[in-house]
Amino acid sequence: MPRAGAGVIELENVAYSYGGGELLSDISVKLAPGSFHFLTGPSGAGKTTLLKLCYGALLPTAGHVRLFQADVRTLERDDVAMVRRKVGVVHQDVQFLDHLSVSDNVALPLTVSGRHAEAAGPDLGELMAWVGLTNRAHALPPELSGGERQRAALARAVIMSPDVVLADEPTGNVDWDMSQRLLTLLVELNRMGKTVLIATHDLSLIRAAKAQVQARVLRISNRRVQLAGADL
């Protein structure tokens, strides 16, 4: 039974240490269902680490991370996999299976969930059209441009209709037009009720988003997360 006012992802007094040094300290963040957040900060501040904590790829060294009200420490390995089916992730360095076609890669979350019929169904075609990759469906990932890879990664992240979409510098390797197109897709997802968290250092992207959607901006500074002011 979900707690009233519970977030889909909650970090409570979380710390994360790596190589003897504390990278993140006393982080408390709650992503409410349907919210739109940006996570910003200088390179090396810990944005990617925080994102990984948000989908169970890393365990906190202190504090609690709750994914859909379940403490990540109490989850078995296969439980973490089940949680990830409800969290779509777009990485900065997008990783695909290079021996599979783009459409097979996009359908991979369905394939590993045993939903083979859907993996070959019409929804996949619609999704490929939504991200503008219909004519690249049978290409292999190494044949894609940076922008195409990001869009394919976004399509893969949302094909399971996840509750949450986490994107790490989704516009890092693309030009302005493509970044606006990706942002539009993410805003569309949020309007469909998905919780969105984007890690980026691109302030222009944040400004552009705030014109379209009510977004909160979290800034990592000195190992802690603060709510950014209206200056952004």
Binding site: M82, R84, R85, L97, D104, L108, T111
Partner: protein, 301 residues
């Protein structure tokens, strides 16, 4: 990876979608198939050796345990009398099915391999031999010796026990050795598959990372590798067994002769024993890969 019924059924049935997510690894695959085949080929010979040794031990045990020999060592003018006396003693000894003195021709045939066909038996002090065949209950060798010592002083009973026991023991050890070799070969298959699976998992660390990112369970990932290595071991072993059986079949046969080397091979239902090897190899590969995958997936982040 758990081995419940559903997992085993999924492994047997296969999942072409799951099989595709792990990229093909041509060279590793060929090496695994070749090594499994070579091991199975050697295992066939180990089994042939073991089964042949088993047959030999049984034959020596059965045949030699039921036969004995009496040598009549006496001056020539006494030899026939003592032979008759010994046969008389034997005819009244319980547990003896038959006893007969070998003819000159039979004794000459026994000595021919060492002295040639033209041996002048009459001019040599060759003892007369009496062949004894015991009943299935056997006879009392100690009692017979005492009776012979009293009634036929030139008779010496040899019940073959002195050299039969070590021969039977040696054959039994050889049979055990054959099984040990077969087990070692299966152990080598397990080690080889574990190494290959570890290498494949390490080489596919990025694939594993992607699969985890999109929500694949570790069981799903492990299953893709386990099924692949199990099928390779099965295919390689099947080929190795087929070639091994052909090679054993082509070994020269000694016919009904007593030669051990010419007797290595399979007889009757023994030919079916190596047919289990591919399935045992596949099972060993399955367990080894599952173990390797479980360990590797615990360490891969």
């Amino acid at each position: 990876m758990t081995f419940d019924l559903a997992t085993l059924r999924a492994l047997l049935r296969g999942d072409r979608h799951a099989d595709r997510v792990v990229p093909p690894t041509g060279f590793t695959a060929q090496l695994t198939v070749f090594a499994s085949g070579a091991m199975a080929f050697l295992a066939v010979f180990a089994l042939a050796l073991s089964l042949a040794s088993g047959r030999l031990a049984q034959r020596w045990g059965d045949e030699l345990a039921r036969t004995a020999t009496i040598r009549i060592v006496a001056p020539e003018d006494q030899r026939a009398i003592q032979t008759t006396a010994a046969l008389q003693v034997l005819s009244t000894t319980p547990g003896i099915a038959s006893a007969r003195a070998l003819t000159d021709e039979e004794q000459q045939a026994l000595l021919a391999p060492w002295f040639g066909q033209d041996l002048p038996l009459d001019s040599l002090p060759v003892p007369r031999l009496i062949e004894i065949v015991a009943t299935s209950q056997g006879f009392d060798a100690t009692g017979l010796r005492l009776r012979l010592a009293a009634e036929v002083p030139g008779a010496v009973l040899d019940d073959h026990g002195r050299w039969r026991a070590p021969l039977v023991s040696a054959a039994q050890r050889l049979r055990l050795l054959g099984w040990v070799v077969a087990l070692l070969i299966l152990g080598a298959v397990a080690a080889m598959v574990t190494l290959a699976a570890n290498a494949a998992l390490a080489a596919n660390a990025q694939v594993v990372a992607v699969l985890r990112l999109v929500g694949a369970t570790d069981s799903y990932i492990a299953q893709a590798f386990v099924r692949r290595f199990t099928l390779r071991a099965l295919a390689g072993s099947a080929a190795g067994v087929a070639i091994g059986l052909l090679a054993v079949w082509l070994l020269p046969s000694g016919g009904d002769g007593p030669g051990f080397l010419t007797g290595i091979g399979f007889q009757g239902a023994g030919w079916l024993v190596p047919l289990f090897l591919p399935f045992i190899s596949a099972l060993v590969a399955l367990l080894a890969t599952a173990f390797a995958a479980d360990r590797a997936l615990r360490t891969l982040t």
